[in-house]
């Protein structure tokens, strides 16, 4: 059986369009230093470093762990670089946890980052390949038809996505690290924002951010000695399926459903809406909240949008299952780090450390990330208690 492990330190940078004051190493370093400070540890206390980020083409540095080792105090230690597309921040946290849960390491540092201002994500994701039709209009262009199909089959009202966009930005306004700070955002403002990839409006999309997130993960003994409350890892799971195959369920991918079932089983969750206190779920386009509410079993099929419209996922409306109190991906999106931010924010909640976006008394929280054509999933459940 897996050894117990817990998050004992969390560090993030402020998320913003361009961190013009730091190098790539400086950005990554800042999150790592903050995590060490939070854990009241030094570089010498770390046994290995696990680094994650999305495609190398975003920064144009091939396998950047090679260059980043000096900034991360890793020399003389193991360094592992994970890349599982958009889910990578979550996968990286899970791989880091496995270093400890396997009993191989006592305490590791994990960092995920993206410095998107070094390039243009649209370019990196859409660079033309010979012999293929060059119609790839970025991630939004890929996901818009899937959202349209969800709208068709669920019969959800047109403004569900607008509501999510407002809710997550209001959440983000409580989080000083969030990139978008829009405390006065309204439904009207979102509705009137530019239609980018119909049905996705500008304000229903995530921003492009620079940022890094780091965590220190320790074994049971060391976590027990941690000066601050640990967040115990109660379950962690990953699933992958191919991008395209005949008959693939794209709206509610089986990989997401299976991954959720696995992590719930590990954490002893039978009804996620009831058993979990809060969830940080990867929602880069607003309509993915109702879609994932169904995919992850928080609502029956076709009814996810009702939870959203009832305010069940809103901190401001005292919802019973707040989703993305940090503001989520809709408020900050350094792609490679976005998944780890979800995982780290879930941990902050159960440590009671989420300040203005704390869900009162949160004891059990979920972090979620997805990537590729909604085909790679990573999830974990963290708790205030060991079991």
């Amino acid at each position: 059986m897996a050894n117990l492990a817990a998050v004992v330190g969390i560090g993030q940078t402020k998320y913003t369009t361009k961190r013009g004051d730091v190098s790539i190493a400086g950005l990554v370093r800042e999150a790592a230093v903050n995590a060490l400070a939070d854990a009241e540890l030094t570089w010498n206390d770390i046994d290995a470093v696990i680094l994650g980020k999305a495609p190398d083409m975003f920064e144009g540095v091939v396998m950047p762990e090679i260059y980043l080792t000096d900034a991360l105090g890793c020399n003389g230690k193991p360094m592992l670089r994970v890349h599982t597309a958009g889910s990578v921040g979550g996968s990286t946290a899970i791989v880091a946890a496995s270093h400890v849960q396997s009993g191989t390491f006592r305490r590791v540092l994990t960092v995920a980052f993206e410095k998107q201002s070094e390039s243009n994500a649209m370019w990196a994701l859409s660079s033309p390949q010979p012999f293929s039709t060059h119609l790839n209009a970025g991630a939004g262009g890929y996901f818009a038809p899937i959202i349209r199909e969800y709208m068709r089959r669920s019969g959800a009202p047109y403004d569900v996505g607008i509501k999510v966009a407002v809710k997550d930005r209001l959440h983000g306004a409580r989080n000083p690290l969030a990139h978008l700070q829009k405390p006065d955002i309204t439904m009207k403002e979102v509705e009137e924002s530019f239609m980018l990839w119909d049905p996705i409006r500008f304000l229903e999309s995530c921003p492009s951010s620079d940022g890094a997130c780091a965590m220190v993960i320790a074994n049971e003994e060391l976590a027990g000695q941690s000066p601050k409350k640990p967040a115990w890892i109660r379950g962690a799971a990953m699933r992958s399926e191919p991008t395209m195959y005949a008959g693939r369920e794209e709206v509610s991918p089986q990989a997401g459903r299976d991954c959720a079932a696995d992590v719930y089983q590990q954490a002893g969750i039978t009804d996620p809406r009831r058993d979990l206190d809060v969830a940080e779920i990867y929602v880069p386009f607003s309509w993915y909240e109702p879609m994932w509410l169904e995919n992850l079993g928080f609502a029956p099929e076709g009814e996810g949008w009702k939870l959203t419209m009832e305010g069940a996922t809103s901190l401001d409306e005292n919802g019973d299952i707040p989703w993305n109190p940090s503001g989520g991906v809709l408020s900050s999106n350094p792609i490679g780090a976005s998944g780890m931010i979800r995982f780290a924010e879930a941990a902050r909640q159960v440590r009671g450390d989420a300040e203005q976006h704390q869900v009162e008394g949160a004891k059990l929280a979920m972090g979620h990330a997805y990537g590729g054509g909604a085909q790679f999933f990573a999830m974990w459940v963290v708790g205030a208690e060991k079991s």
């Binding site: 144009g60 540095v61 090679i66 080792t69 003389g76 360094m79 670089r81 396997s102």
Partner: protein, 352 residues
């Protein structure tokens, strides 16, 4: 902790240009042979899958996503990827088994380096402010490393040429090798230098290829009833990126990894070392303290063919082959990443 074993290994032929064969088309036949060797149907029959690849080899983001198409991942599978040599994917898989979330794992690596200019592509792995904009290629960095050793009297050009000759000769028994032949050290020395002091023969070729391994707990391996080699230790270690601050004539991180992996707990019959340049094989041999009792790179090593992102995993596979064939009872495999052996992984394999 559960004992973990390698139960199967396959690789593609190593070729200078796989031509009209995309990455998936390169992987599928290798996986097919591996399934047959292990006696499984597909990736559904293992508990975890992990791969290693690099987008920049072919110049397109998300290379690994294509790899998933080779797996038959419906229903969905537990799967992960490292943007590193697949030897590190094997490392990640071992952690997964050790923590009890899997009893078996499929690991594969693939690289099609022929579309680009590999030494220049890899120059973009270097410090993005001070080195990458100079476009200093990895062959030249290795050449400087070789010269340091020559200057300090640590090696001679004859020593380097002998490494090449042995690689070519050993590779004659490796049906997948790209470069093999009855080559002598004198033949090598007769060549002109290319990036002096290196000759072309001192450098590994640019290769296209893939390889794959299945690992499992020893209980599972016995249940499957197939030959296996036990992974008795594995560790890896990285050094500073600043070449000027490393002793380039040594590989301290390899030594550390080998020590932590328990290499010195017994005799080493065979060693497969990921040395892309002839002098690096000497650095590694010395860092590991190997002597003439160890057969070094019986497959020919990567001087006989270097499928990026798979070659490190292949080293482990080659040691596995020698143990299950009875040629060796204990061996080590080494993998490397980064310029001039910056990051190194050592695996120790033993006869069951």
């Amino acid at each position: 902790m559960k004992d973990i074993a390698i139960v199967g290994y396959q690789q593609s032929d190593l070729v200078s240009d796989a031509g009209a064969c995309n990455e998936v088309e390169m992987i599928i036949p290798v996986l097919g042979k591996l399934y047959e060797q292990v006696g499984i149907t597909n990736a559904q029959d293992v508990d975890f899958v992990c791969s290693g690849s690099c987008d920049y080899l072919q110049g397109a983001a998300f290379a690994f996503v294509m790899g998933v198409d080779a797996l038959g991942a419906v229903p969905p599978i537990k799967e992960s990827h490292v943007e590193m040599d697949a030897a590190w994917a094997l490392y990640e898989s071992i952690l997964k088994i050790r923590m009890g979330q899997a009893e078996s794992a499929l690991i594969y690596g693939f690289g099609k380096s022929s579309p680009g200019e590999l030494p220049i592509v890899l120059s973009q792995q270097l410090d993005p402010y001070y080195l990458a904009p100079l476009w200093v290629d990895t062959v030249s960095l290795a050449a400087m490393q070789a010269r340091m050793m020559l200057d300090q009297g640590l090696i001679t050009e004859q020593d380097m040429a002998e490494v090449v000759a042995r690689s070519r000769q050993n590779a004659r028994r490796n049906p997948h090798a790209q470069l093999a032949g009855d080559v002598s050290a004198d033949d090598v020395l007769a060549q002109e230098t290319f990036v002096s002091p290196l000759r072309k023969a001192d450098m590994c070729p640019v290769s296209d290829g893939a390889s794959a391994v299945v690992i499992a707990t020893v209980e599972k391996a016995r249940e499957w009833g197939i030959p296996y080699a036990v992974i008795s230790g594995i560790d890896h270690c990285i050094e500073t990126h600043n070449l000027g601050m490393r002793d380039l004539t040594d590989s301290s991180s390899t030594r550390t990894a080998a020590k932590n992996a328990g290499m010195h707990n017994g005799a080493v019959d065979v060693a497969e070392l990921y040395a892309p340049f002839s002098h690096q094989e000497i650095i590694l041999t010395r860092a590991l303290g190997l002597d003439s009792n160890t057969s070094i790179n019986p497959s020919g090593g990567v001087l006989a063919g270097n499928p990026m992102m798979a070659a490190g995993l292949s080293r482990i596979g080659e040691v596995f082959n020698r143990i299950v064939s009875g040629e060796a009872s204990r061996g080590i495999a080494h993998a490397t990443s980064g310029p001039c052996l910056q990051h190194n992984l050592v695996t120790v394999l033993e006869k069951a």
